[in-house]
Subunit: 311 residues, 2 copies
């Protein structure tokens, strides 16, 4: 096995977020389940956008956020995902590159616009996502660069991408390449509804080569179709070497080779916006796992040091 | 004189801001004077963007920000300015409309992109703007809707727009329409360098019908070519009925019909970002002047109440 060039390489949706605030009644009126991610068509995204308040645009995408987090810790990261050659595509490419993440997937012109997610944040800080998948869904196995995947200690796969048939093939290919190169494959389940849509295929993928599984409580209980978190956690531990399970305000539970570690939360005075919280949790975990002892130069690294998480 | 439909109507550049952070060395390296606004060409904006860090996109434009502020206080506001039929144009149109400001200037396709400003915020919170003027510079007198201008208590003109020859004609036309309808014309000088470029024409405009002049210290001393703020303020008071002069941390000075009022600042613990500070100061002033006694329903209104500024 050659030396890894990257701590983590991620494959996911390349998305620009459009973030605004709304009240709970707005979500109800538009049939959006608070805290979830739902896929919407062009007409619905237009309707929602016309009714929502002023917004800001900021690069997003779950696995892309995680790679920016890894880079912010000082880890070497790359991202594989698809944008169009439009304004949002240029924004996504600029921001992820400026954050220090390698991103070389070629843009595609004239087929579909760059994917975007209307993110509505309610007064309790919870985010509800309405994603219009444009060109990012078009990622197929032809775009998974074998040399990049082979050169990563950890290959991180975003569950959201599973909503697209051709992306499933890309995932399976990445798992095969990583396995052959002796690399670790990590998967995040991304969203409870996403798990509902693809339960069996997720289970096949996990049992077939996923070494690290990230999930929150609703995702893992949905995966194993049990109301009991403890039961779901036991089953996850049987299916994968390392299960990393987040429980919002109740902290997280990590089951590694049969041993359970309960991690308490770091309390904050007020939750302002949960957008990307799980993504950056994964960033910290992946960075710690892949690069322990490295010397981060950047903000997140300093934060981790002041909290005594790294020397 | 018929009843005014709007408290304020503004004419200005329709701009989407691209806001990121940088250090002072970055500004020096790129020859940008801290705190200023400079106009850059397509090549420079591309170069700066490729070298700056991750950014967020948010609707901006000086006079447009002020109208959003007026609406946020509960005042009725409209904006006249030009966007293209592109992604940034749609963002600008959505955000200003969602903030409650009437905006009906038609988009223009295929001529130039929607204007944008790369705003670099240094650690001291000061913002430095690098503006690429696209289609917003194309505003001419054909786009100044007489009915809208006539129906505003105050017509607010953005000095930045003076960088464009055809916009000067639009301004003069707006002043003439407002004068005939018995409305008040307000002008903001916008930027010290902008004043350097158009001093004589600004003076002509002010003496020819501007009732309210907004300027900060560097703008007003540049306008009257004197190092003395007191001297510049005296001369402004001779040229206009109401001079509203801001001095950053030293508060503001208002000279109304020969009487001087010194307004202290509301101290904050830490200055994070000064982007739009002058724009929102103008919003508070214009709202107070045009709508005193109205009952704002929105956030800025609540803030003004808790501070005892309105009953």
């Amino acid at each position: 096995m050659t030396a890894a060039r990257y701590a983590v390489v991620a494959i996911g949706n390349a998305i620009v977020d459009i973030i605004g605030r709304c009240d709970e009644a707005f979500l109800d009126r538009h049939g959006a389940a608070k805290g979830s991610m739902r896929l919407v068509d062009a007409e619905t995204v237009q309707q929602l956008y016309s009714e929502m308040g002023p917004a800001i645009e900021i690069s997003g995408g779950s696995a892309a956020n995680t790679m920016v987090g890894v880079a912010s810790f000082g880890g070497k990261a790359a991202f594989i995902g698809k944008v169009a050659g439009d304004e949002f595509g240029r924004i996504f490419r600029h921001d992820i590159g400026a954050a220090g993440v390698d991103f070389s997937t070629a843009p595609v012109n004239g087929k579909a616009p760059t994917s975007r997610s209307l993110i509505l944040v309610t007064p309790d800080g919870e985010r509800t996502m309405n994603t219009f998948l444009g060109i990012s869904t078009d990622l197929d196995h032809g775009e998974v660069d074998a040399a990049t995947v082979e050169s990563a200690q950890i290959v991180y796969l975003e569950g959201y991408l599973f909503d697209q048939p051709q992306a499933k093939a890309a995932f399976r290919q990445a798992v095969a390449i990583a396995g052959k190169a002796g690399r670790t494959v990590a998967l995040t389940l991304s969203d409870g509804f996403c798990v509902e849509r693809h339960r069996d295929e997720f289970l096949d993928l996990i049992r077939g080569g996923v070494g690290i599984l990230f999930a929150n409580e609703s995702e893992i209980t949905s995966l194993y179709q049990t109301p009991s978190f403890a039961e779901a956690a036991r089953r996850a531990a049987a299916d994968t070497r390392l299960a990393v399970l987040t429980r919002s305000a109740r902290g997280s539970v990590i089951i590694a080779d049969g041993k359970t570690h309960e991690i308490p939360v770091e309390p904050v005075a007020q939750v302002v916006d949960t957008t990307g919280a799980g993504d950056l949790y994964a960033a910290g975990f992946l960075y710690g796992l892949s690069s322990i002892g490295a010397r981060p130069q950047t903000n997140l690294g300093e934060l981790a040091r002041t909290r005594g998480l790294i020397p």
